[in-house]
Subunit: 409 residues, 2 copies
């Protein structure tokens, strides 16, 4: 276990580099109950950083599993009014919102995927307006993590629980640059590097990307007003923040109807406790017209068939194999880490902030601009040391961007 001093430093990285919390701003922390020891430190450090109020919205996936297994289908779809009112109130108060993603990745593996989808769709529909606001960066938000016992055991099953937790702390601290002399400075330097990549790509203003790798031959058209982003989110008050820590990606959105060809995943996708391996997708006019997986295909089906938008892509992200997470060659079973291991795509909803003119548009306006909408947003990894990506400029020049999985710009 990290010392109290190290945990305070970690909390400070999340609060200052991630949320960039402002004096007098309320903070809401969504956390699994097992993370309470760190949440108490986070709470204290948030007040030190100037937060006015800190509220914790606890959840326990093991109790939720009982509910998912035993409630009627009708009750599974019941979303209390107060739950929506709470999310609305967080928005209204311009709270910073910190989500700790640390649940046991296997916790729902015995729940029938249809029952999970039923519940997630019901919540997703009731919170659609809230999720939209998150994706438009109306308020400051951050997804971060810390070890929990079952998750650590999942990653390091050969170790006793205590040692597995210890090892996961070490791993997270490594990828979170906590071993640097000054972790906050190390993050600022790293984020500046990502922003420079994004600036280069924005300057080039590519029309298309072309991905090639074994099994992959994919063309992605980018919208006319697309914008590459990297750790430079700005909320409605103009405060900059970093929405994921760690982050290694430069990302934008595809033109919804402009994806053609085939792509295969290179790393397993852990979704609701199910591992999906060797995903193969074929696209026509942006739509997934064929899909297979060598493992977990039923769950892949649940993802793709959730709604119409889950047949289209919502994100294109570039991550080199020099990413410290890729270098570990370790599946985290946690999207926050896994998506930062390698180049990835997301099935489902696109971030309107990836358009220069995307913020504040109505749902219909976004659809008309080719911005995909869905209750899902599921990242899957396609990067490897065999991946090449070319950019195609507006005047049909080819600019190599990635060779053998690494930036060449």
């Amino acid at each position: 276990m990290p010392s109290q001093e190290q945990l305070k430093k970690y909390a400070d990285v999340l609060l200052r580099v991630g949320l960039n919390i402002q004096s007098g701003q309320p903070l809401v922390i969504n956390a699994p109950i097992e993370t309470a020891p760190f949440v108490r430190i986070l709470t204290e450090r948030a007040y030190v950083a100037g937060a006015s109020r800190v509220s914790i919205h606890w959840h326990d996936a093991l109790t939720e599993r009982v509910q998912l297994q035993m409630e009627s289908e009708e009750n599974l779809q019941h979303v209390p009014r107060w739950f929506i009112a709470r999310a609305d109130e967080v928005m209204e108060e311009n709270s910073a919102s910190l989500h700790i993603a640390a649940d046991n990745p296997d916790v729902f593996k015995d729940v029938p995927p249809q029952r999970l989808s039923l519940r997630q769709r019901a919540i997703g529909e009731k919170l659609r307006h809230i999720n939209q606001k998150f994706m438009e960066d109306e308020i400051t938000w951050l997804v971060a993590s810390m070890p929990t016992a079952d998750w650590a055991k999942k990653m390091y099953s050969e170790l006793p629980t205590d040692e597995a937790i210890e090892k996961l702390w070490d791993t997270i601290f490594t990828v979170m640059r906590m071993n640097a002399e000054d972790p906050i400075l190390a993050w600022q330097t790293h984020l500046n590097g990502l922003k420079q990549r994004a600036a280069f790509l924005n300057e080039k203003h590519f029309a298309k990307l072309h991905y090639t790798a074994p099994g992959t031959d994919l063309w992605i058209t980018l919208p006319e007003t697309h914008r590459w982003q990297a750790a430079d989110s700005v909320n409605a008050q103009g405060t900059t923040f970093t929405a994921n820590l760690p982050t290694e990606e430069v990302y934008t959105l595809p033109y919804k109807y402009g994806v053609e060809g085939t792509v295969v995943s290179t790393m397993p996708l852990s979704h609701n406790g199910v591992i999906i391996e060797n995903i193969q997708l074929r696209f026509e006019g942006g739509r997934i017209v064929e899909y297979h997986a060598s493992r977990g295909e039923e769950t892949l089906k649940e993802i793709i068939e959730l709604d119409d938008g889950s047949h289209y892509l919502g994100e294109v992200a570039l991550v080199p194999i020099s990413s410290p997470i890729y270098q570990l060659q370790q599946l985290f079973y946690n999207t926050l880490f896994d998506e930062n291991a390698s180049c990835h795509l997301a099935i489902g909803k696109a971030y309107p902030t990836c358009l220069t003119n995307g913020k504040g548009k109505s749902e219909q306006e976004l659809i008309d601009m080719g911005v995909n909408d869905s209750l899902n947003h599921v990242d899957f990894m396609i990067g490897s040391d065999q991946l090449n990506i070319d950019g195609v400029t507006q005047d049909n020049q080819i600019v190599p961007l990635f060779q053998n999985g690494e930036w060449v710009i």
Copy 2:
């Protein structure tokens, strides 16, 4: 630790004897996060017993302590709208409500009592209409308990934590009659005994009670329409339930302005982490006109000076020294157990259900009937093997009720 089977039985006692949960009824559990392993079992058993939905409202006193220590006084008094909306929704749906009282009794001992009062008063005022409904038994509710580590260590400081928890489970299972062949039957038998005492007292319809013990000489006038109650609560739908488990008491309310004389406490009162010992109160016309404590007097002052109603009594409860909790001669630092050790009184709000015509009355009507109102309801113990209580009938006959701490009827 009890086995899974024993925990299921314990859950069933709470759900069936306590809440008498009905088929299709929602259940809300308010629980400290440390109690999660038992809450998961409770959740499962609630579905088995017919609950439609089970929602858990978690809290963590250690995070709340950070808030209490670090928030501005203004923010301490902020109560989110969703928090009230949630309570309203629970009422509207006729949910059963289970509160697990298991927090470390010392958790707030370093928080200035004024700051605690500030927060509790703010919440109490916003939830006044909800608390009123609880006290009128509009919905089914239950306070029950289970061990948590810090509480167990507080009670058995000489033991290592694991053994202290084990011993507290043993103790709770003893007083919860879980070692009986059939705990549900044992509870039904015990509750019937309490109800017979209540029926006797209701038949006598005493005008006054007279308490005598070393330091105590107290006269309590009972309202004309008072009703003695014992484990026979009835909610707005007509479903019977038992609001506290364990329960050993027969109780009613005093006439607000009809308490005269002096009383001393016989067991320590644990309140917000502070131990208050040797409370001495003097009453005139129902009002506390003088108070002392040999320890914790500042906290006693916070209790009595909270509002006007906290200068008056709201409950009169009779518990014999044969109570299994009294027999343990062990302070639990937890009102649920401590109040069931001995005869007690409560400073503050009275239960309108203790009047035959009390339900559904407005606040003003209740005040006019001499029913005390306050944001507080704090029980303190006055029973011992030296306590005698006489009932005085409407025609001034003296009927001995307690001699040397034991029922004589």
